[in-house]
């Protein structure tokens, strides 16, 4: 028994509620085992990052709690307003140039807010300001959660998606910081995947339903011998190398082991047939984003992974798919983010922000359109954190920021009062429909998200984390 999604369902998503059997009914052996495990809450986690934050005057609701009037930037979310909370007042102080550690030590790293916007968004850690030889950040929350949840999706514990390629550095920070939000550990960012097709293939390719048990065993024996060859070579090398070399070798070993895990658990792929793969080229940028949402939803639906991050463009992206007053936006996002050209920059950035918020809505709708076997939707069982590591506004005390309401938009790139939307319900962990005003470190929200997914081992997250954020349920 298998289910094929039509191409239309795959590409469109809107309104097409696709009923795939829930875990239990179709689940292969390993899945049944884990369903027995009480700690599996079957919650999926998504983080969706946008650069430079969001200009707040049309984003932040003017009242707290439920029933707030949707500001113009959130109006595209009207139909899903009960399925997300606006959270104001979160801060990520480790991203500031000047930071006081909990023990009172002060560190002043000067400029580089854009590197820190990206680099610290999911780590809530301090970036070592370096040219590249001694990179140091912290492990990001998605990687930490995936590490705890990997037993449920051992083949692909998480996905790190991004819509762009390489990127340059900022003010003394190596480029690696500003190209990556997801960090496997303090020194190594996760590999970013750009192609929806390649992700799809990785999620679903390689399963042959016609293969007999004997054939499978023979194939596995061969594949194991191939990997053993590589493993032997790794052991031979290890003794001859220095510490940093061995760290690189360990990264590689992880990769080989992941291949092994995929082999040994490839049976699990039988549960779900994803249908037509996405095109591998020939689409525009907005379609690229939508294809990522489709792949994400399929990965969740087929329980191929539990944790996904998406970098929605980079600091220097050009959003020439958008226009303001009939003229295409050709300037790069970063160039405008300091609002040096006053109102014209503000309006163009707001057009970008508006578009980004709409993408959040599109993802929520895509998840809502996917039913799970128990009658719930993916949106019920997922948490989507959308936002950025800067408060959204500008540079300097310049004239440009004059017409922005001061309490909602700072005069400089600040890492406080971050623009954050929390979508989905995480199986009842988050109620939605509210504007929550808090004063808490960003890491506390992440702790709550981890707890919603059953990862209660995380007591607090980030340099200044205190524990879970209260008031979400």
């Amino acid at each position: 028994m298998s289910f094929r999604l039509s191409r239309r369902a795959f590409l469109g998503g809107a309104g097409a509620a696709i009923a795939l059997p829930y875990l239990e009914a179709m689940a292969p052996r390993t899945m049944r085992e884990r369903a027995r495990a009480a700690e599996d809450r079957g919650v999926r986690l998504v983080w969706m990052w946008v650069p430079h934050g969001i200009i707040r005057r049309h984003f932040t609701p003017s009242t707290e709690g439920t029933g707030y009037a949707l500001p113009s930037m959130l109006q595209p979310l009207e139909d899903v307003r009960d399925h997300f909370d606006v959270i104001s007042g979160l801060h990520n102080r480790p991203g500031q140039g000047r930071y006081t550690y909990p023990d009172g030590t002060v560190s002043d790293d000067g400029p580089g807010d854009h590197a820190r916007d990206t680099g610290t968004f999911l780590t809530c850690a301090r970036l070592r300001k370096t040219d590249g030889a001694d990179i140091r950040n912290g492990q990001s929350i998605d990687q930490l959660a995936a590490q705890h949840l990997r037993e449920f999706t051992p083949q692909i514990p998480n996905l790190s998606l991004s819509t762009f390629g390489g990127y340059g550095g900022d003010s003394g920070y190596a480029p690696i910081y500003q190209a990556n939000i997801s960090w496997v550990n303090a020194t190594t960012p996760a590999e970013r995947e750009r192609s929806p097709r390649a992700v799809f293939d990785r999620l679903f390719a390689g399963f042959d339903p016609g293969e007999s048990a004997l054939e499978r065993e023979r194939r596995l024996a061969l594949e194991r011998s191939v990997l053993d060859g590589a493993l032997d070579d790794i052991s031979r090398l290890r003794g001859r190398l220095g510490t940093r070399d061995n760290q690189k070798l360990d990264e590689y070993l992880e990769g080989i082991r992941a291949l092994e895990v995929r082999l040994e658990t490839s049976e699990g792929r039988a549960a779900c047939e994803p249908g037509t793969p996405p095109p591998d080229s020939g689409y525009d940028f907005p379609t690229h984003v939508q294809l990522f949402f489709d792949v994400m939803a399929l990965a969740f639906q087929c329980d191929r992974t539990r944790v996904v991050t998406l970098m929605l463009q980079k600091q220097g992206s050009v959003h020439d798919h958008l226009s303001v007053d009939g003229s295409t936006i050709t300037a790069n996002h970063h160039g405008m983010s300091h609002l040096e050209n006053g109102d014209s920059d503000i309006r163009r950035i707001e057009a970008i922000n508006h578009w980004q918020v709409r993408q959040f809505g599109n993802l929520l709708r895509r998840l809502q359109a996917s039913e799970e076997g128990d009658g719930s939707t993916l949106l019920d069982n997922t948490l989507v954190c959308f936002g950025g590591g800067l408060d959204g506004t500008g540079h300097s005390s310049g004239r440009a920021t004059g017409d922005l309401t001061p309490q909602r938009s700072g005069p400089v790139h600040r890492h406080t009062n971050l623009p954050i939307l929390l979508g989905g319900h995480g199986r009842g962990a988050v109620r939605g429909g509210r504007h929550l005003v808090v004063d808490a470190p960003l890491g506390d929200l992440y702790t709550s998200m981890a707890h919603a997914a059953g990862v209660t081992e995380v007591a607090r997250f980030g340099l200044d984390g205190t524990g879970p954020l209260s008031g979400l349920g």
Binding site: D170, G242, G255
Partner: protein, 555 residues
């Protein structure tokens, strides 16, 4: 060095105390560390963190191992590299690998084996006369191992390694064809770190690289690929690590078409020309700018650098030259007559033209402009960063941004030069802009896509005079070029980029002392770009590895 992000916003700099470009995280006097500092340091060669091949290096190695028609499978399938600060993608410290890349690589390798094993040319090359049907699987797997593995792993292969390979193929051939089994062997051999990484053992003390390690360093530096047979033969003979042999190998390798990789990976990244792909000149203002023009601009820069190296021209040629490479499209863009057709060719520039040298090439002029206008600030910062290795610090947060409106509220027309002059009235801004802006002013006669212009955005006649606070001045690109060429930081900066790229690692403070001695040796000869490259490859730092400790502490 690569401060890509900040270039568009460096409108208000502070912290440029004393002479320009002495950020505190660099050793004293960037590019020109004092003799005393270097003598105290006695810089050691250091070592390169276990170096993973990047996608291009993999693909070029596949071409060498399988055939030139191999395409770019790794580039297409694996995640992209992280850039180094200088913008290179071969920096061992930030080249990572993980499950996504390994799985993608595995897929690429499986396809390569399946595709090439049945091919006659491939069999003839690695199996010779061995026929598995008559000679047996074991014999043929052995023959293959003897010819393929030392190349793929770029070193001699131990008997145990050879035996393990043969055993794998023999076992795989049980119930399968020899071709399928051999393809699995290839997959295993190329998944091994001996292919994917360039291991250089290092411990306590300085060790001269063995011939194979040096062969790899040379070939990856100049070709972004594995060594060829000649380099392997010299490595095996033990004669490669010798001044004259390295010189003659470099000459041979520069003359080889594979040297194009050096232009693509070193030159266009050092000069940020690779970023031209992301430049977005406003089509309503620059309707002539299109992909054909863009591609000609990149070719101009590549061919120009190749020519300067091939002809052993002085380093100063980079900034002052009387020739360039054009096709009709680019010549028309530049207003130069007499060039017809699509083919790029060497063109002697007419007397009295302002063109000539990198500073006047469309690629660089466009990359350093805003979409709608030129940016003397961005151009000045680019020159400080890429040509003098003295990048100004980012502007402080608490200063007024540059107002670049061309009109005041009362209707008075204000040029960019006047706006910048207003900006420099703030002493915090002036310390850096006093140096940065004049460099850019000298290039004002080239618009935001590098075309010649007589008037600026406001209709005012171009003023391309740049005056530094110390009274020195230059007018136009030729005088600016001459000014840069005379600055000792220029040769040091080119040397710094060359060393970082050829070693494939980030440079530390003590490495700049090594750059200094390399530049001195090059200048004691003819001081050409080629000589600078040669002295880099001849230096101890390129031919040895240091201890773990000295570098680890230094970073």
């Amino acid at each position: 060095m690569a401060r890509l992000l900040t270039v568009s916003l460096v409108v208000a700099l502070a912290g440029c105390q004393g002479s320009i470009g002495e950020p505190s995280d660099r050793p004293p006097s960037t590019g020109n560390p004092s003799a005393d500092y270097c003598a105290r340091l006695d810089p050691e060669p250091g070592y390169v963190t276990l170096h993973r091949l990047n996608r291009l290096e993999m693909d070029r190695s596949f071409a060498a191992l399988f055939g030139d028609d191999v395409g770019s499978p790794a580039y297409d399938a694996l995640p992209g590299e992280n850039e180094s600060r200088a913008g290179f993608v071969n920096d061992a410290d930030v080249l990572t690998i993980g499950p996504v890349a390994v799985e993608a690589l595995d897929g690429v390798l499986a396809t390569l084996g399946e595709t090439y094993v049945p091919r006659e040319d491939f069999r003839a090359r690695y199996l010779g006369d061995c026929d598995p049907a008559t000679d047996g699987v074991e014999a043929c797997a052995g023959a293959f191992a003897d010819s393929f593995l030392p190349r793929a792993w770029r070193r001699p292969v131990a008997t145990t390694e050879r035996d393990a390979f043969v055993a794998l193929v023999v076992a795989a051939a049980d119930g399968r064809s020899f071709d399928v089994a051999l393809a699995q062997g290839i997959r295993s051999a190329l998944l091994a770190p001996s292919f994917l990484f360039r291991p250089e053992t290092h411990g306590v003390g300085i060790r001269e690289l063995d011939g194979y390690e040096l062969a790899s360093r040379l070939s990856f530096a100049l070709w972004a690929s594995m060594p060829d047979d000649e380099l392997f033969e010299l490595a095996e003979a033990g004669t490669l690590n010798d001044d004259d042999v390295i010189r003659s190998q470099m000459d041979r390798m520069i003359a080889d078409p594979r040297f194009d990789a050096f232009l693509d990976e070193f030159a266009t990244r050092w000069l940020k020309v690779v970023k031209l792909a992301y430049a977005s000149p406003d089509p309503s203002l620059f309707s002539s700018y299109d992909s054909a023009l863009q591609s000609a601009m990149v070719d101009e820069t590549r061919l120009f650098i190749r020519h300067v190296i091939e002809e052993n021209l002085p380093l100063s040629t980079l900034v002052v030259a009387d020739f360039t490479f054009l096709n009709e499209r680019l010549a028309t863009h530049y207003g130069i007559e007499g060039v017809t057709g699509d083919e790029m060719r060497l063109v002697r520039l007419p007397d009295g033209t302002a063109r000539g040298g990198l500073l006047t090439q469309g690629s660089i002029l466009t990359v350093t402009s805003q979409p709608t206008r030129t940016s003397p600030v961005k151009r000045g910062e680019y020159l400080l960063e890429r040509f003098l290795c003295a990048p100004p610090p980012a502007p402080p947060d608490n200063v007024e941004a540059l107002n670049d409106d061309t009109m005041d509220p009362d209707g008075t027309v204000v040029t960019l030069r006047e706006r910048l002059a207003q900006h420099r009235e703030n002493p915090e801004c002036a310390t850096c802009h006093d140096v940065m802006d004049p460099l850019g002013f000298a290039l004002e006669a080239f618009d935001a896509v590098g075309a010649w212009r007589e008037v600026d955005e406001t209709g005012a006649p171009i003023d391309s005079l740049g005056e530094l606070p110390d009274g020195r001045s230059f007018e136009g690109p030729r005088e600016l070029g001459a000014f840069l060429a005379e600055d000792p930081r220029f040769s040091a900066c080119v040397g710094e980029h060359l060393l970082g790229y050829t070693l494939g690692r980030s440079l530390s403070g003590s490495d700049l002392c090594i750059v200094d001695r390399i530049v001195q040796r090059a200048n004691a000869r003819d001081g050409s770009l080629r000589t600078l490259l040669e002295e880099t490859l001849l230096d101890e730092v390129f031919r040895s590895v240091g201890t773990n400790d000295s570098t680890e502490v230094g970073r």
